[in-house]
């Protein structure tokens, strides 16, 4: 509690998504800046970094360790200088980036890039100064991207290694499974914003307290995280799957050849697995088994899982967004 804390914020700045969102980017930024100011005001040596995920690229917008050189000429006597520096740096950098004529607004934003940069930065700080309780807050407006599954999972695991807590807020659009898993696996909270006018309140109540004192206050937790997997062949959610031992592709039924790595499987195994299948069919059918209380198995839960097609692993070409609900 007495320690200063580090916060890295990853902002999803996808123009296409913000255009559709009921909350305008301006009012979002206004509320966000109050939150960021609150963070640096909370403790004298709290540190802060802000990263932006733009279509196809990611930038660092602000870092408290490297204050921008060009201090605003007109310093406002009514404003605490660090606040002013932060606010003007962030807004200036964002408008500079969004006015870039080369920006293709339809490309999905590079959340992965921004997240990995945040991790690199935290790694650098913790080597240099030994950070306590670093955390990352991802504020996203985009849906999950299927080809980002492996990089996001890798980032989550490195965050675990660095003992970084990842908090995630989905400001607009459907729930994202990736961010839910990120928050769950690193001990952070995930928040799906339903009331956009209360954004600031959500931010301050949920994400402002550092992880060390969250034990004593009630922050939103999630208990319905989906750990089931989607088969690579039909993108069905399966609870018993057949996994290739070489590449770990998941199939919903025994296949003679792995479609991802072209490994052939022994005939004996196929026979054995096929023989044991009738048992699994009844359990694969959800209605036949009792579902645990408060673990809703709605169509929405069942359909939102990282589908990872064989093609997108192999050439990374699958740029299409995850079709939520494609399984049904």
């Amino acid at each position: 509690m007495d320690n200063s804390s580090h916060l890295s914020v990853v902002l999803d700045l996808s123009p296409a998504q913000w255009y559709q969102s009921p909350l305008s980017l301006d009012s979002f930024l206004a509320q966000l800046l109050v939150f960021l100011n609150a963070h640096i005001a909370l403790k004298h040596d709290n540190s802060l970094a802000v990263f932006g995920a733009l279509p196809d690229k990611s930038v660092m917008l602000y870092a408290s360790s490297e204050p921008p050189m060009d201090t605003p000429a007109t310093s406002d006597p009514n404003c605490y200088p660090p606040f002013k520096r932060l606010d003007s740096a962030v807004t200036a950098r964002i408008s500079e980036q969004l006015e870039d004529p080369l920006l293709d607004v339809t490309t999905p934003s590079a959340i992965v890039g921004a997240l990995t940069k945040a991790l690199c930065y935290i790694n650098r700080l913790s080597v240099a100064t030994g950070l306590v309780d670093p955390r990352i807050l991802i504020l996203s407006v985009s849906p999950d991207l299927s080809n980002a599954y492996i990089p996001i999972m890798n980032s989550i695991f490195s965050a675990q290694k660095l003992k970084v807590t990842i908090d995630a807020g989905q400001i607009y659009g459907p729930d994202t499974v990736f961010l839910q898993q990120a928050a769950h696996l690193t001990g952070g909270s995930y928040l799906h914003l339903t009331e956009t006018s209360a954004l600031l309140q959500y931010l301050i109540m949920t994400f402002l307290p550092p992880p060390s004192i969250r034990k004593v206050i009630a922050v939103p937790t999630q208990d319905k995280i989906d750990f089931r997997a989607a088969c690579f062949c039909h993108k069905n959610i399966v609870d018993i799957g057949f996994v290739c031992s070489v590449c770990l592709s998941i199939f919903c039924q025994p296949t003679p050849v792995c479609s991802t790595c072209r490994t052939k499987f022994p005939i004996k195994t196929l026979q054995r697995l096929n023989a044991s299948r009738p048992l699994t069919i009844s359990s694969a059918n959800n209605s036949a088994r009792p579902t645990p209380v408060s673990t809703p198995r709605s169509a929405a839960t069942a359909a939102r899982h990282p589908p990872m097609s064989a093609e997108s692993i192999q050439n990374g070409s699958g740029t299409s967004a995850v079709a939520n609900g494609s399984g049904h």
Binding site: V127, I150, I240, G241, L248, P266, I267, T295
Partner: protein, 447 residues
């Protein structure tokens, strides 16, 4: 104690030759750049018993400014060279691993040539090894066998839970070294522990061996033959000297053998065994069937297999408490086996009731980085390669690059710039290490 150190000396002659052999081998495998360096290093750091007494904190050198930068750079340079040696393309690796760690608990482990003792050092490194191993092989399982008083002794049963494995070697007093070691007894015990395993998973034995003798009830070559038949890979890290039987065990089973020269080398040898072994045989037979279909025997690839796995349902923290099948404890949290609906405490595991392998999808994802590694970054060597409009800060952590070339160790960039071949962004040396060893994903191109 006296006897032991005497035997070391009497074997010294023998040892010199094996050391030369080992060195020649290491050199052949190593990068050219590394060769001179390795030689210089070996001269500085002889076998521990040849060296005069040195405290571990003396070996880290501070520079004039009192910083440890130089030592840190040395470490980084070593990491870079190691990565350059590794094949860049994706290779098949055994993801589901089963390892029996055999610890030498014989009297010779009380030798103080490695500080504080061989035994304490071995326990410390074994703990670090186990944590790192589970980190990189989330679907693997480790069992522990001790060699003590001429017997093999089961210290820890095969388990996929790092905490359980670490707990089994946490009590130093229970493992107090005594008597002679028996390689044969220990290997037989390890082999019996693994005999039921399916063929697609690896079966490995790693022996940490500090003695120069083995006290066996029968012919150890018979044991070796059975291990070859059962496709068990034996690797040995010896702390004393090379024994012919040890070398043979490793060579015949395609394992790795190494003699630790000092504490650091011991750790290096041990940690080389952490990443999953490449599956060479599998790669050959898994080529598209058109090219050499005739050569492939009918059971195309015994090492590859289809596995049935269950993806469990996680019970919410607030559900009604019930008994788990693994510890018979009453608790709310847990995972439900999808086949028999019994409740287990932790995944990954094999269901205690129906035997189904239970994993969660993040566990599978944890292994993907072995299959799709990040390309090695190229060190920028020449002035020309730094374009005038090149970014002046690291693309990852925004650390500012030096403007002029600095003197750098071999293989390191004098500009401290390492460039991703795909997105052509420059990274600092620290991020280079971090990206390849931890994140496994380039911040520039997201691959």
């Amino acid at each position: 104690m006296e006897v032991d150190s005497d035997s070391d000396i009497s074997l010294d002659l023998d040892h010199q030759s094996s050391k030369a052999k080992g060195k020649a081998k290491a050199k052949a495998a190593a990068d050219k750049k590394k060769a001179d360096k390795g030689k210089a290093k070996a001269k500085e750091q002889p076998y521990v018993w040849e060296a005069s007494f040195a405290r571990s904190w003396d070996t880290v050198q501070e520079d004039e400014a009192g910083s440890l930068q130089a030592s840190v750079e040395d470490l980084m340079a070593r990491g870079r060279r190691r990565r350059l040696l590794a094949p860049a393309s994706a290779i098949r690796r055994t993801i589901i691993r089963h390892l029996i760690l055999v610890l030498d608990l014989s009297a010779s482990m009380m030798d103080r040539d490695m500080r504080p003792t061989r035994f304490d050092l071995m326990l410390q490194y074994a703990r670090e090894f186990i944590s790192e191993w589970f980190d990189q092989n989330p679907l693997g399982q480790i069992g522990i066998v001790g060699m003590r008083a001429g017997l093999g002794e089961r210290v820890g049963a095969m388990s996929g839970n790092p905490q359980e494995v670490l707990k089994s070697i946490s009590d130093r007093v229970k493992l107090e070294p005594v008597g002679e070691p028996s390689l044969q007894n220990a290997i037989e015990m390890a082999r019996n522990n693994m005999s039921h395993l399916p063929t697609h998973s690896s079966r490995e034995i790693l022996i940490l061996f500090g003695s120069l003798t083995t006290c066996d009830p029968g012919n150890i070559h018979d044991t070796l033959d059975t291990c070859v038949q059962n496709k068990i890979r034996i690797s040995i890290v010896a702390l004393a000297a090379e024994m012919k039987i040890c070398r043979e065990l490793c060579d015949k089973t395609a394992g790795q053998f190494g003699v630790a020269m000092n504490e650091g080398h011991f750790k290096d040898l041990l940690f080389e065994l952490v990443p999953p072994p490449a599956q060479r045989a599998a790669a050959r037979s898994a080529r598209p069937s058109g090219t050499n279909a005739g050569l492939n025997p009918a059971p195309a690839n015994p090492a590859a297999d289809l596995m049935m796995m269950g993806f469990p349902t996680r019970l919410p923290d607030a559900s009604i408490p019930s008994l788990c099948v693994c510890h018979s404890e009453l608790k709310s949290q847990g995972f439900l086996c999808p086949r028999c609906l019994s409740k287990v405490c932790d995944v990954p595991t094999d269901c205690d009731v129906c035997g189904l392998m239970i994993v969660s999808s993040p566990h599978l994802a944890r292994s993907y980085h072995h299959l799709f590694p990040v390309k090695t970054f190229t060190a920028i060597m020449k002035d020309l390669d730094v374009a005038p409009d090149a970014a002046d800060a690291c693309h990852g952590c925004t650390r500012i690059f030096p403007e002029r070339a600095t003197n750098a160790k071999e293989g390191m960039s004098p500009f401290r710039r390492y460039r991703c071949p795909d997105c052509e962004n420059d990274f600092c040396s620290e991020c280079d290490v971090f990206i390849h060893d931890v994140i496994h994903c380039c911040p520039g191109c997201g691959k």
